[in-house]
């Protein structure tokens, strides 16, 4: 045994060799489809999208495919899990628009075979060719919405119509408001208030937004994406920054709560259905997407869960009072001021640093 072999032997003894060098962190493997997997479909979806038990039950009754849903509460978390190789079971995921772009770049998504789908042409034109995914090559829009404020209208009598409201009323709202626990959304809203883009990559602009947020921070009860729900129902919070999909459902259950869209513009998001490269059950995935593309199903979802449909045929089936609900389907001039989040590449590090600075100071 020469010296080289000895060192190699020692290294393998130390257990390091199992990891080795030059291995790929996170290996997404395609699983072989077995008959057992063909009658079950694993979804990886946002917390509130699996709420509708009736929807899942009807699908299983129609197709015989059993559905299993795992939940996530942020795009980042979902992406990290998929990329680290923990997504082998899932066939359909629900990435938001800019995340579709990121995941396509990384080669995680399968191209959609449009010949297997029925009813994509029912979608509104802007959803048939969305900027984040031209011609829906990798994703099919599921629902869309805005980021805004849910507030207790019994105590807040003048609606929080813009981002500035938080700063102007921060004494009144002291410890009674939360912002999303999402770097891009929180900075985006503040950037918008300052008159910049939601997707700014300019360091001085981001720094100004940071300074603004620092002023506000002592009045915040925290950064929450989901936990605000119970607190605002109990009356501990008066205002929370949130996604329209979460808020509108709650305002329906509790009329004293209202949802408002900041008038200087906010983020406009689309959550989509996409099929993973590693999907163990593509057939089931197409069945699920086809099912959700049915106008009746999509309309039901809008009625029951207050999720805005991107489907024109479904929209036309909705009763007038839902069609004209300004929070669910905002008017064109409101939407015109909104922006989609887009991937910002290297600037991500900068945001992270300011975010850490903000949440740790």
């Amino acid at each position: 045994m020469n010296r080289r072999n000895l060192i190699r032997a020692l290294l393998s003894l130390s257990g390091l060799s199992l990891a080795g060098c030059g291995w790929k962190l996170g290996n997404v493997r395609a699983n072989a489809t077995t008959s057992e997997q063909r009658d079950q479909l694993y979804l990886y979806t946002w917390t509130q999208y699996a709420d509708d038990k009736e929807l899942l039950k009807t699908f299983t009754a129609q197709t015989g495919i059993k559905l299993f849903a795992d939940l996530y509460e942020s795009n980042d978390m979902m992406q990290a899990k998929i990329q680290a190789g923990g997504g082998g079971a899932y066939s359909v995921i629900y990435p938001s628009d800019y995340v579709v772009q990121k995941m396509v770049e990384k080669g995680l998504l399968n191209e959609i075979k449009h010949n297997l789908l029925v009813g994509v042409d029912n979608l509104f034109p802007q959803f048939q060719n969305p900027p984040y995914d031209p011609n829906n090559r990798y994703s099919i829009p599921f629902t869309w919405g805005t980021t805004g404020f849910i507030y207790n209208s019994e105590i807040i009598t003048t609606p929080p119509d813009d981002w500035e409201y938080l700063w102007k009323n921060r004494e009144k709202l002291n410890q009674k408001m939360t912002l999303l626990n999402d770097t891009r959304e929180v900075f985006g809203g503040t950037l918008k208030m300052l008159g910049y883009s939601y997707n700014s990559k300019n360091e001085s602009e981001i720094k100004q937004a940071y300074e603004k947020l620092k002023e506000l921070k002592s009045s915040l009860a925290g950064f929450d994406t989901d936990a605000w729900r119970n607190k605002i129902l109990a009356g501990d919070l008066l205002l929370a920054m949130c996604y329209s999909s979460d808020a509108i459902k709650l305002t329906k259950e509790n009329p004293k709560l209202q949802y408002a869209i900041p008038k200087s513009g906010t983020s406009l998001w689309t959550d989509t259905l996409a099929i993973l490269k590693s999907a163990p059950n593509p057939t089931g995935a197409y069945a699920w997407i086809n099912y959700l593309l049915q106008p009746e199903v999509s309309a039901q979802l809008t009625k029951r869960q207050s999720l805005a449909t991107p489907n024109r045929a479904a929209f036309e089936q909705l009763p007038k009072h839902i069609q004209t609900k300004p929070t669910l389907f905002p008017k064109e001039e409101v939407l015109a001021k909104c922006e989609r989040l887009s991937p910002i590449g290297e600037a991500e590090e900068m945001y992270e640093r300011y975010w850490t600075q903000l949440t740790s100071a």
Binding site: G15, G22, T183, T359
Partner: protein, 321 residues
């Protein structure tokens, strides 16, 4: 008498004696194997992998792991490559020295140290009471009552504090009914201290109890007889006997709260980011810098290791009499 025994038996005895050393040699291995395999597979190896990741600046999932540009073990033999690895290491670990991140780590420390101190103050009298003053037949009952909270999920216990501390919660309802003003401590550092202390207290009480139970009361009586006042008795007779227990429980509480994720997350507010959350953000947040996250994790592991090393040192020191 011995001559009456037939020869084959003695041979057998000899055989057994000869076989014994072999079994002895194997014994510790057999006994340790299950736990050892477990530890190596699920603790040592993952830690080594984290260490390896911490040598690749800015690594994200999907990237190739090549510390310092190394793709093969043979390249380890070239010392030029060691220099590259060192540079990669410095890149990741130096970032921790950024004042922003240092502040986060400092906060983790102050949470952990503060919780340890509060726990010690609260737990010592309780443990003393259980070990020395509670009648023997009630002792187990009281101990179980103290450990009972551990039977539920720690997440649930932290969550319960939200319902107690929230502005419209139990505590404030009681305060308000006495005409006292509302206490706003949820989403503040105070709430984090409360949650952490509550989580760690049973462990502290248990360990202190174990050490106070063995307290030699005759020494205390002797000290008192020789004219020591109660304070002197405590410092000169009681404390030296239980100092190992105090050190062990303090280190345990410190170590567990240093990496606590749940309590700061649920009870803390807009500015209670701790080391655990910072690491979480590196792995599952937007930046996905697993290299820096791993470097942070290794640093935390190192700090805890040092604490354990200190614990062993203190634990072995014979109590002064």
């Amino acid at each position: 008498m011995s001559t009456q025994y037939p020869l084959p038996q003695t041979v057998e005895v000899e055989k057994i004696q000869r076989a014994k050393p072999k079994i002895k040699w194997l014994e510790p291995f057999l006994l340790l194997a299950p736990a050892g395999v477990w530890l190596i597979l699920l603790l040592v190896l993952p830690t080594l992998i984290i260490f390896q990741l911490s040598l690749v600046p800015g690594i994200r999932p999907g990237d190739i792991v090549n510390p310092g540009g190394i793709t093969d073990y043979n390249q380890f033999l070239d010392f030029q490559n060691w220099h590259k690895i060192w540079k990669a290491l410095v890149t990741n670990y130096n970032r921790i020295l950024d004042p922003i991140y240092l502040q986060v780590i400092r906060r983790s420390f102050s949470f952990a140290l503060g919780t340890t101190a509060i726990c010690l103050i609260l737990a010592f009298p309780v443990a003393y009471w259980i070990a020395q003053l509670v009648p023997q037949r009630w002792r187990n009952f009281v101990l179980i009552a103290f450990v009972l909270p551990l039977w539920t999920s720690s997440l649930l216990r932290s969550y319960a504090w939200i319902t107690i501390l929230r502005p419209t919660g139990l505590l404030n309802t009681i305060l308000n009914s006495f005409g006292l003003p509302t206490l706003n401590i949820l989403n503040q550092n105070a709430a984090v201290y409360i949650g952490m202390t509550y989580s760690a207290l049973p462990y502290m009480v248990l360990i202190l109890y174990a050490s106070l139970e063995k307290l030699d009361k005759r020494q205390l009586e002797a000290a008192a007889d020789l004219g020591a006042n109660p304070v002197q008795v405590f410092y000169k007779a009681t404390l030296p006997q239980v100092i190992t227990g105090v050190a062990a429980s303090s280190f345990l509480v410190f170590i567990t709260t240093l990496g606590d994720f749940v309590n700061p997350e649920l009870l803390g507010g807009a500015s209670s980011m701790t080391g655990a959350r910072l690491i979480y953000n590196q792995f599952l947040g937007a930046t996905q810098n697993w290299g820096f996250g791993s470097a942070l994790s290794m640093t935390l592991i190192m700090i805890v290791s040092i604490a354990i090393a200190l614990l062993i040192k203190f634990g072995e020191a014979a109590p002064k009499r």
